[in-house]
Every structure is written in C-alpha cells, then in structure tokens.
Assembly symmetry: C2
Homo-oligomer: 370 residues x 2
C-alpha cells in the first residue's frame, strides 16, 4: 500500500479538505503515476455536492489527470518511468463485452459497467471501497486506461482534453461533423469551449448558443462564427432550421424544445452535459416536421480519448485553462456552479506538496492530520 494525500469532502455540504488515504501498489499491468495537474470538471461539483444522489463519501473528485509515470508493473508495455501520461474518466472495465471490444468502454455492458476514476464502486481496494480521483498526489491505474500525452501539448493545460475534450469530440465524430456543416454549441463552459475548438478544427462553421452576452467575445476568439442569445426570441427565430448538428453542453436539466427548432431537416441535437430528466416534455411538433432527432453521448472510449489527444496535438488545440492551487478548489467550485467561467480551472498539484509538506508522515507531500 502507498500512503497518499488528496482533497476530499465528507458530505454534500462540506468543503473539500486535505485527506490522507492509501493507494494499492501497482499490479503487473498497472502504472503508478505522480499527478502534476488535474482539471476541475463541472461533474466534480455535481458529484461532490451529491447532485446526482449517488455520491460515496469521502468523495475525492478529479478525472482530468496529468502526471508522470513513477513506477510500472512487470507486464506494462506501453509506458516507462518518466513518461507524461493522462487518466480520464475511467480506470477499468470488463474489456470483454462487445462495447469494450469496440473500444467503447464507457458503455461497458458488464453488470457493473466501467469503473469511474472517482466515486466508482466495489472493484478497487480503498478503505471505503470506492475510487478516489485526481485531486491527489498519485494514482495507480491499469495500463489500458492510461493515455499518452503528445509532446507538444502543455501538461499544465492538457488535462481537460481527457474529459471535456473527449466528451465533445466523441459525439462530433459519431454524428459525422465535417467541413461544410453548421454546428451549434449550447453553453460555453469547460465542455462548450472545447467543442467550439474541436468542431472548428473538423471544418464546421460553429455558432455558440448561450444566455451569457458577456461570453460573446470569448466565443468569437475561440473560433465561433457567431453567437446566438438563447433568451432572445428574435435571435433564435432568425436561426430556425439552420443547423446540421447541435451539441448541448448545459450541465443542468433544461428545455430542449427551443433548440430543436434550430435544426435543419434530419438534424440532430445531442445532449452530453445533463444526466437528469430534462425540464420539459419533448414537443413532437418541433421535431417531426423535419425528422429531427435527439441524441445522447457519454464521455468517450479510451481509443477515442487517445484520438482526441492526438487530434489536439495535430491541430494545436489546447484547452483554455487557469492554474489554481489546492486551497482554492472550493472557490473554483462556486464559480463553476454559477456558470461564470468559459475556461477550465486546473489544479497545480505541486501546491498540494507545498501546503502540506511539514511534519509529514508522507515525506514531501504528506500531512499529519486533517
């Protein structure tokens, strides 16, 4: 067992605080990673605050993990000590079902499904029998779920590609977005800003659909051709029946009907940001008349995650990030929850060592109590 430290919360209404725990020693097919950076995803906020009613406490979020390989199991082939690597939303799956075999581990058909990087249950040894994520100094992960970070990507900024990136890349690819398509991105947060960059790099003409007037300049700077204000009826009406594909990154239940009308015939609106019931029943009259569809998509598989990393490398796409020290996680959560930011906060994990290094049982990164 390896002594580890991270930031975790013990209940839905408590702040995240330093928390000591253990990681298992790496098995033959596992890699031990010293975490250098971890993005803060909106899901982290939902999960820590038990907004999906399934949180296992203590909850240590983080699934946009970048780090350096410290140790490899005897059977590990793809990685060696010192490699810059990433870990996204999953750390294990059955690898035997049809979905896993197709590289779509996020839809693993085994009874337990995939093992989430945090809040995943029952398969990894931890005192509380659930997984702890990347808000920590180290992690031990099965080789098959570790990603190679291309050399030209900045390790301090690449983390969000592992969740926000692949979560938007996967549906853009699945629904065949390409040059000449008109694509609408609803919401300009962590996912939305990556979606704009990715869709643009795929050759699409991208519009951002948002309620936040103040995000207009940022949207255009990201590569959007225009910004549609979703609470402006005239603006919405002007864009009726004009999009081939719309991606909703809104992280809360919402009404999809007004957006559906923006689709052309055979257009698809795909929802990736919300896993709760939408706020209003679907209005068939807004869909049927143009054979519009509503799709859904859940994160992305490991193969696709490597693909989006390589795509970002090739197209020089980098998430817009700001580094934050561990003791500012709770403030960052509040800002994300308020929908104020159109970039990703990334925790600089070096600050975990700095803040908690004295009187430590863990050497440079430990603490004595919490």
């Amino acid at each position: 067992m390896i002594q580890a430290i991270g930031y975790a919360t013990k209940s839905a209404h408590a702040a995240l605080k330093p928390y000591e725990f253990t990681r298992p020693d790496p098995k033959a097919n596992e890699v031990q990673i010293k975490i250098t950076h971890c993005g803060i995803c909106h899901s982290d906020v939902h999960q820590a605050r038990n907004e999906w009613n399934n949180t296992l406490y203590p909850c240590m979020p983080g699934h946009e993990i970048i780090g350096r390989v410290e140790k490899t199991g005897s059977a590990v082939k793809k990685f060696k000590t010192g490699d810059i690597v990433g870990v996204g939303c999953m750390v294990d799956s059955c690898k035997e079902c049809p979905s896993c075999k197709e590289g779509l581990e996020q839809y693993c058909e085994s009874e337990k499904g995939f093992l989430a990087t945090y809040n995943g249950n029952q398969r990894m040894p931890s005192p509380e029998n659930h997984t702890y994520g990347g808000y920590s100094n180290l992690i031990v992960v099965r080789e098959d779920f570790v990603l190679t970070i291309p050399q030209n990507l900045d390790p301090a900024a690449a983390g969000p590609i592992l969740c926000a990136g692949v979560t938007t890349y996967s549906p853009l690819r699945h629904w065949g977005v390409k040059s000449g398509h008109k694509v609408g991105i609803i919401g300009l947060g962590g996912l939305g800003h990556m979606a704009v960059k990715l869709a643009k790099a795929m050759g699409a003409e991208v519009s951002v659909i948002t309620t936040s007037k103040e995000k207009r300049e940022d949207a255009l700077a990201l590569g959007a051709k225009e910004v549609i204000l979703s609470d402006d009826n005239a603006d919405m009406k002007k864009h009726k029946s004009s999009f081939d594909f719309i991606l909703s990154t809104i992280p809360q239940p919402h009404d999809v009907n007004p957006y559906a009308e923006l689709l052309k015939r055979d257009g698809v609106i795909t929802i990736v940001g919300c896993i709760a019931p939408l706020t209003k029943p679907l209005d068939m009259s807004k869909l049927l008349m143009d054979r519009r569809s509503l799709g859904t998509s859940l994160i992305g598989g490991i193969k696709e995650t490597q693909e989006v990393l390589d795509f970002c490398s090739k197209h020089n796409i980098q998430p817009n990030t700001r580094l934050v020290s561990v003791d500012k996680i709770n403030e960052a959560f509040d800002e994300i929850d308020a929908g104020k930011i159109d970039f990703r906060y990334v925790i600089d994990m070096a600050t975990l060592a700095e803040k908690h290094e004295d009187k430590s049982i863990l050497g440079k990164i430990g603490i004595t109590s919490h």
Copy 2:
C-alpha cells in the same frame, strides 16, 4: 367545376354527415379519380375532432384513397382512364426545394410546406379555401402525387398502405432496419399492424409492445415473435437493452422513458404517432448510458410511397382491413378513438352512391340537401 359529395363534419363535436361541394376540373397535369375506397386513419379522428387545434371546417377527412382514373389532363403521362390509383397524405408541394427534389415532399421547405390531402390550406380552390379528403366520391390531384396500385394488391385493402404503410415504412428504412435486427413496435393499431408486417418482411425479429393483452394472438398472427406488456414492469425489465430499433405508433402523448430502456447501445426509438408534446420530460439517465437516440418521422415522400406499395406487392403484404359503409363512419371513429381495433376500417365508397342516389342533382351519387 365538378359537383361532388362526401362525408364531412362542421365542428369538433358534430357527427360526419353527407356534404355537397365542388372539385375543380382537372388541369393539364392533373388526374380526376373516382374514389372506390378510403381508409379511416386515426389522424382523421384527431383532425375531425380538432384535437390538434388546427382544423378547418367543414372537415372532410380521408388520405388513404383508392380509385379509378376517370379523366386525365392533357399533359398527364403516367396515367390513363381506368387505371387503379392511390392518393395518400399529400396532394401538392413546391417541388423545387431540396427536400422536394430528394423526393421527401413531406418535409417541403417552402413557406407553406406540402398541401395536405384534407385540411390543407390556401392553395386549392374550394368554397372554403381548404382541401377536402377522400371521404368523397371523387378527387382531382396533380399527377405527381398520384400512386400506381400494383395489380396484385386488393383495391379494397390497399388504401392503408398510403398512410399507415408509408408512415412506418419510411422510418424503418431511414434507420436501416434489416435482417438480424430486433425491432419493437409500440402500439398495435392501424400503423402498428402495418409496421409489424413491414419490419418482418425486412428480415427483422419483431416484438409488439402494448398495454392490450387481448391483442396478443393478433400480434403473433401478424408475424411478431413475442408480445411485451408495457404495464407489466417485470416483462419490461426482462427486455431491457435488447432492441436495435423501436417504433412508437402511439397516437397520443405518452411517456417515452420506459421504452427507451429497452434499447441496446446506439438504439433508436422513433415516434411517428404523436405530434403533441410527450407527457414526461426525457430522462437523460435512461438514454446517455447507452448512447440511445430519439428520432421522429413524418409520413413519407411520394417516391417512398410508391416504394412501399411495390414492397407490399412483392412481399404479399396486405393491410388487415374491414369494409364499412359511409353511414357507419361515426361509429368507426369511436372505436378507433378507444384504441380497440388492430386493423384498419376502409370505407366502401360504393355505399356513398347507394345511400344518396335518389332525387339527386349529382346523378347517381348526388343528394339534394344536407
């Protein structure tokens, strides 16, 4: 102008009664058809009773029309006097927009859209400036919207192919249903019973999903492999994640969530029967976890309508029908509305002449007053 007679209603709560009106003489590109049979579609009930809040009165329904060509305009090429022909849900469209050019006139992108066979507005001369459907002795239709009825189809039974048939055929084809697929058909009425026959002929293994226990035997006789009772939780649970494609023919607002769970990964549930808002908000948790989609589809184009007629001819598929005389239309409406029947009523239009032929200004089929 041609004197005509049909059955129409003057308000949402009135019964259908004999009604005299005029049809225009056929123009160069039009065909005058003596109607022999007309299917009674659930839409006819919705429309006559103003359940979609857009009915123009007097309302003369009927868009599953079979008849014989009586006269052709000078430019008509495809038809000659005596041909057995059909007219479905549409009698005109712009024929110039991208959708029309693709043979998808039901999604006509002109401002007015396609012209519906009845309750269509503003383009055909009629005293009240809207179209009258097939519950009548004759109709005059643009050649491009007239279908050829293959010789081996019974004219008394073929009518429902023109609406119930193409409305289910179109999505089954669009979503690529084929041999080896597991297909669920929700609802076993006019549309549902055709969907079972068509999907089975396409090679799929078909299940009927219904609340009506008493329809089990009929479903199996139509070719379904099994019947799932949608109000039996255990039965529904047993079939979780097992279908490639599900078609909902329920003609009323309903809750789609329980059915969505029956889909495999990447499965699609398509709604064709309801044009109002569904009863419950879509639950993303039931869709996202398997990248399930919700699709919609509206009737079918003219090219597809001919295709489904030819498909039925080739596969010896005939709608299950019962002939009804014109004076029983109102009773038939009540039965359809109650969801009791899993076949199509077809009006035997010869009975229109029989009932109303004496003291007539219209010769054999006229009446003097109404």
